[in-house]
Amino acid sequence: MTNSSDVMIHIENLKKSFGDDNILNGITTDIKKGEVLVILGPSGCGKSTFLRCLNLLEKPNEGHIYLDGVDITDHKTDINIQRQKIMMVFQHFNLFPHKTILENLTIAPIKLKKMSPEKANEKAMALLKRVGLEEKANTYPKQLSGGQKQRVAICRALCMEPEVILFDEPTSALDPEMVGEVLDVMKELAKSGMTMVCVTHEMGFAKEVASRVVFIDEGVIAEDDTPKNVFENPKNQRLQDFLSKIL
């Protein structure tokens, strides 16, 4: 169907359990370059676990994840190098409170990519300007609102020039009036061609921006289609129930 060189992440029969609790029961899918994949699913279905497996914050019990053809689940792979290509944006932002906004953005490129501080600062300032927060560069995270923090967190991820960004419910911890400003940044990012995998409850975002929607139920992919088909013509019974509850 598509040229295999377009595939950025190839996921094969991914399984994860916590003790006796099976969360993921064999997930296989491809994430292509430039794709905006939205993952939906009822609470506890394993969608966050799936996302966290992609950068190995959770270690899968079985299966393989290939990033640009490199199996990152292989013990011999240096995961710290691979992780530099997959950034993550967290529900609770997880900015470093003891560092300024600018330092939050520049520490990883300076320490890990050996970027010069001048260049890192320049890059960080450009990113902050893009999200309208350049005047906050020298303040600390606690002086920012939730929406501002999440915009900074996205900039922190971008500063590493990743190939893909994982969003783990990026707007769930925000006051409603701040959701828009974060979604705007994500939309702009999608338009710029960034590969994104988003776990979110923002159906508007999914409809408008996603190139593909995956519905996970009981640890497996229950439906995998375009947003138009998923929202207007859902085939899976559980997906129909799910959509009827939230829409």
């Binding site: 914050l57 992780r83 997959i86 993550m88 967290f90 990883a108 890990l112 606690k142 002086q143 590493m160």
Partner: protein, 510 residues
């Protein structure tokens, strides 16, 4: 501006608290003193049966007095003769059983005390050695015989005792004898005038001169180390000292553990009582201050002691922090990954042992057991002991600090591509340290005060410095209060500095 004035208020409040404390202590001390003038009810050995008897721990006086326990006597054991005397003056005991010569000195300096005419027991002093060290014992015996024959021994004893107060004899080490046979380490307890005591910052007395005379004959260099009396036998049998010379009486019990030389002098055990007169002791007078701190430059004991205390504390806290952080990081990593179960078990056991045993026991074990046969510097022993002790507490403080940082911080660091160690260093530890700084400061303060037990292995720390003064001036009040105030001042300075550091760190992320 606001900050400055609030600081000023704090300093004033502190000064007021300090003054009130001092005044209260003075008053309560005077209370005790006013009750000290009653005459003892002990008139002879017969009366000991119903008396409260003060003795020096581990001395023959202690052993003899303990015989009266079955008759209802209460024995109170003190680390130093001088402490027993102070207890007697303050009516905490009815009498003190102690060796005659120190007793004479005590009575000479305290008009309210008298020695009962009836001698309690006669005994002989000898030098003690480790059981295995009969070779040295034989050498010392022949040296003793030599100085007995040539009159040196009598001259030394006469120069300190037997009424020849203005005797000008002084044993002088022959300058032509170059010590070629190594060092002779002598353990003693320098609060037993005239046998051994501190004067002008040096240990002197009959036993020291006798030891010097023996060392000269043996061609060895004399090295005197001071310690608690009840530690001397341990020190000798563990090899910390070659011999113990401290007015030690030969008893059957002691013979089981150590070898004795032939006796070098005889002495009597006597009973000291309060005679009912007042020794006219004002609590705080210029004279008292002068006697305690200015005469013979006694303040130097405190100054030197303070330096030693600070030295031990500083080095121990550095060692404690380094070790503590390593242990904490080790523990957290083990728990987090579930790997290295053996390492985790070792660390946990270490913490349990260190936190589950008293610091003093650890200090003694490290000195007498672990470093038994090496001639390691005592201050270094104390640094190791307190450093190890502190490391266990710091480890748990730091671990709680690390665990107080949310898992999200860790995930953020790792997701950016930082390794476990980098994440710890750049993100977790800086935040953890800030959180635990007050607890770490508290540990430093506890450690500073804890070092006051260093005297148990014979280190001249601040507390011990005060003890020396007490053993010479027989005044409990001033030396103890001044030592307490010095500790208080150091702790206050440390607290102020730590408070400043904390505020500075807090302002950082505002």
């Amino acid at each position: 501006m606001l900050r400055k004035s609030s600081n000023g208020v704090r300093i004033k409040a502190f000064a007021v608290v300090l003054m009130v404390t001092t005044i209260l202590l003075t008053f309560s001390a005077c209370q005790w003193d006013s009750s000290a003038q009653t005459k003892s009810d002990v008139h002879g050995a017969e009366d000991l049966k119903s008396a409260t008897i003060g003795v020096q721990l581990g001395t023959t006086g202690d052993i003899y007095a303990s015989d009266y326990k079955k008759d209802g006597a209460i024995i109170v054991e003190y680390n130093k003769g001088a402490d027993a005397i102070q207890a007697l003056k303050k009516s905490k005991v009815d009498c003190v059983v102690i060796d005659e010569q120190p007793a004479k000195n005590f009575v000479k300096q305290n008009a309210d005390l008298s020695i009962l005419d009836e001698a309690f027991a006669v005994e002989e002093y000898a030098i003690c050695f480790a059981k295995s060290n009969t070779e040295l014992r034989d050498k010392v015996n022949s040296a003793l015989a030599q100085i007995k024959d040539n009159g040196t021994l009598d001259s030394i004893i006469d120069s300190y005792i037997s009424g020849k107060d203005n005797s000008t004899y002084q044993y002088i080490s022959q300058s032509n004898t170059v010590p070629t046979n190594g060092t002779l380490t002598v353990a003693t307890n320098a609060s037993f005038e005239p046998y051994e005591y501190m004067e002008n910052g040096k240990i002197c007395g009959i036993d020291i001169d006798v030891s010097q005379a023996i060392a000269d004959i043996l061609g060895m260099e004399l090295k005197v180390t001071d310690m608690e009396f009840d530690s001397i036998i341990t020190a000798v049998s563990s090899g910390k000292a070659d011999m113990g010379v401290s007015g030690i009486t030969i008893t059957d019990e002691r013979k089981k553990n150590i070898e004795f030389s032939t006796p070098y002098t005889a002495a009597k055990q006597v009973i000291i009582v309060r005679n009912g007169t007042s020794d006219n002791n004002a609590f705080l007078s210029v004279d008292k201050f002068k006697a305690n701190f200015l005469d013979e430059g006694r303040w130097q004991y405190l100054a030197q002691g303070l330096l030693t205390t600070l030295q031990i504390t500083l080095l121990a806290v550095i060692m404690g922090i380094v070790l503590g952080f390593l242990i904490a990081i080790g523990r957290v990593s083990c728990e987090k990954t579930g790997k290295y179960k053996v390492l985790n078990w070792i660390l946990k056991t270490y913490l349990t042992i260190i936190r589950g045993t008293p610091t003093m026991i650890q200090l003694l074990i490290i000195y007498y057991v672990i470093f038994a046969s090496s001639s390691i510097d005592k201050v270094l022993v104390a640094v190791i002991a307190f450093g190890l002790n502190s490391s266990a507490y710091i480890a748990e403080i730091v671990r709680s600090g690390i665990e107080s940082i949310s898992e999200g911080q860790f995930e953020a660091g790792r997701s950016l591509g930082f390794t476990y160690a980098q994440t710890m260093r750049h993100f977790i530890l800086p935040q953890a340290i800030k959180n635990v700084l007050p607890a770490l400061g508290n540990e430093l303060i506890v450690l500073l005060k804890e070092t006051s037990i260093s005297g148990y292995i014979g280190i001249m720390d601040l507390t011990r410095g005060g003890d020396y003064i007490r053993s010479r001036t027989y005044d409990a009040f001033l030396p103890l209060i001044v030592v307490a105030l010095i500790y208080l001042a150091i702790v206050s300075i440390l607290s102020a500095l730590l408070g400043k550091l904390e505020r500075r760190l807090k302002n950082d992320d505002k």
